[in-house]
Point group: C2
Chain length 383, copies 2
């Protein structure tokens, strides 16, 4: 009987994930293996391949290194010691992009799926799930009359939210071009960063609202009535003013559905790239709404033609924003960011207007590694 | 100036997703393409490959068909007309498992990542995001004193929950072996199924609680302090009685944190495979707690040794459950399910005890396609 149960157990284990589609996944291969010195070994079995390349920022020369084939048909590559960060990578096997079959941890960046791993012992400890109280991540739908659709947003309520009657300050956090309401929680590790900063006493407990900044979308690809389509960077109407025009609907939804402190002093907005653009223009167009503004590698002006009133009277509205007062206007960009010059020009404009801001210049370019850093630096300055 | 802006736009579009790692992804290739007759064409570019196989249940002979190479290095395969369902697949390129580089829509089944697509016009319309009011999906953490850890669950609150003061009935929905608190929402499309059934008036608005049934885990792989590890089916202590023993903590958490109707008449439990096992034993061990019990392809007895009191006095506790009364005891299994015989034996036991149940026998085996069906059939019978 015991023997039978054991056989049944084996059979059960083999069958009950339903699929036996994983014949290409070699169960014994460990990849990525994070070694004691924080070098990382990648392995992938491809016995018939002629060339296998590891692709990933910060993992080798120009993010593109050839792997070595072993006698067992397993290709491998060992990096130098890596600094603490969240890294993404994939393989290129004879020209075909392959995700690591031995690493189920992936993120989607627009239309590209990338494997991820994390090197601890430094800044990436903020991106880990640590043994601290955890907030709640929810996917909520709200109605936008202005955009004429039901729309989805991601909302983080901090640990303790449900146990108190307190009102909480709110940070609205905007994604970049090609992103959506999932970008900051998946690629940006926003929930983990906030959980950890709050637990360390470095940031105030706050609500984090991550809307979808693409007005053509209801929700992220696969999460709307558009079904399982192929995402693209080229979305219509991303910078035509209507996201800004409809933003009060997001604020109203949050402030009527959550215990949000509905005062200017307790509202912050920030965003990366196109989301920095949205943050700039939303905070300027509604010039007495946010006490804190964060522009992470921001785009400054709309790309393409627009006749929206949102982008008119730029200087006048900035002047109003200045006169109304704010606590923090925070700009960060990497030294090699392709938007560096336009941000430098924008700073000159702010200087000319006598508008105070904090400016942070980091290494690197237009990358998530920077945007996680910026969130981790910005959130502690709020409220 | 306009020209400059255009150039900047192009550069922006190319850079701002940060990665240029997608050199292996051919942007022009459409895969999967769902044709007008609901046949599906798969395509993958692999110019140097010697053999490319499409793997996927219901897509061809034994779920494993060779693709044909075209002159452009693109391999393709066109299926017969497919019936409405959510399908999963992957490729095998010269023995290496490859996810479709042109389809970002994926699910994780234990340690295997599979691409998905959906054929409309039948039962899969229930799995789509339709133009109906949407509930909220949240990832919540609760404390389990019995298991000595913070634990994560997925909770669905139906559309309208936040706009009313009503109390709602609760369905506890348990995953199978190797699954976790993400299985029912990702593979099971539980939120979409409930959104659609509720909108059609076929199911009552209800709260859906999807706990993590692996007592060794805090949360799904990658979502706990264990970090980004490789998932496995072989988790310790999955059937040693402690999940059942700790289950009142889940109920208490839900009934104190949500507007749950905390009466037996408004509590249901159901689960698939190991989750059917959990549902069977939890409902029997607390024999006056649930008015509705659903066993989807259930395991009946624990695999391996256990000395837990939970599995003692089986017949006595079933008798108690019967005497206390319930509204529905619902069992479903596929004709080719490897657990078919043990379920048949269990039905004999129920018959011998005179314990009423509804029995549904479907085609097919131990697969998500059936479990989604069972949820869609079971939820309308509740409350």
């Amino acid at each position: 009987m015991k023997h039978l149960l054991f056989l049944l157990f084996i059979s059960f284990s083999n069958v009950c994930a339903q699929q036996s589609l994983d014949s290409g996944r070699s169960k014994e291969i460990r990849s990525p293996e994070i070694n004691a010195d924080n070098s990382v070994t990648f392995r992938v079995k491809a016995p018939n391949a002629l060339k296998v390349v590891l692709q990933g920022d910060g993992l080798g020369a120009k993010g593109n290194v050839e792997m070595m084939k072993g006698e067992d048909g397993v290709w491998s590559y060992k990096t130098e010691t890596l600094t603490s960060d969240l890294y993404s990578y994939s393989f290129l096997v004879d020209g075909v992009k392959l995700n690591d079959p031995n690493n189920v941890h992936q993120v989607r960046d627009v239309a590209t799926i990338l494997n991820v791993f994390l090197i601890e012992g430094g800044k990436a400890d903020l991106y880990k799930v640590n043994n601290v109280p955890h907030g709640t991540i929810a996917k909520r739908w709200y109605n936008s009359k202005i955009l004429g659709k039901e729309r989805r947003l991601t909302i983080y309520t901090p640990a303790g939210y449900e146990q108190t009657k307190n009102k909480y300050p709110v940070l609205y956090l905007m994604h970049g071009m090609g992103g959506d309401e999932e970008a900051w929680s998946a690629l940006g590790r926003a929930a983990q960063i906030l959980d950890n900063l709050i637990a360390q006493g470095k940031a105030k407990p706050m609500i984090l609202v991550m809307p979808n900044g693409n007005i053509s979308q209801q929700a992220a690809p696969g999460e709307s009535t558009d079904g399982f389509y192929k995402p693209t960077m080229q979305l219509p109407n991303t910078m035509d003013g209507r996201m800004e025009e409809s933003f009060p609907e997001v604020i109203k939804f949050v402030e009527t559905n959550y215990r949000a402190d509905a005062t200017k002093a307790k509202r912050a907005i920030a965003g990366l790239s196109m989301g920095g653009f949205h943050s700039l223009h939303i905070s300027r167009f509604y010039p007495n709404t946010f006490a804190y503004v964060g522009l992470f590698s921001p785009a400054i002006m709309p790309f393409g033609k627009t006749t929206s009133a949102v982008y008119e009277n730029f200087d006048t509205s900035l002047q109003k924003q200045k006169d109304n007062g704010y606590n923090l206007y925070w700009i960060a960009i990497g030294k090699t960011d392709f938007l560096y010059k336009s941000v430098a020009d924008y700073r000159k404009k702010l200087d000319a207007l006598g508008m105070k801001y904090t400016y942070v210049e980091s290494e690197g370019g237009h990358v998530w590694s920077n945007w996680r850093d910026y969130l981790a630096a910005y959130a502690p300055l709020l409220f």
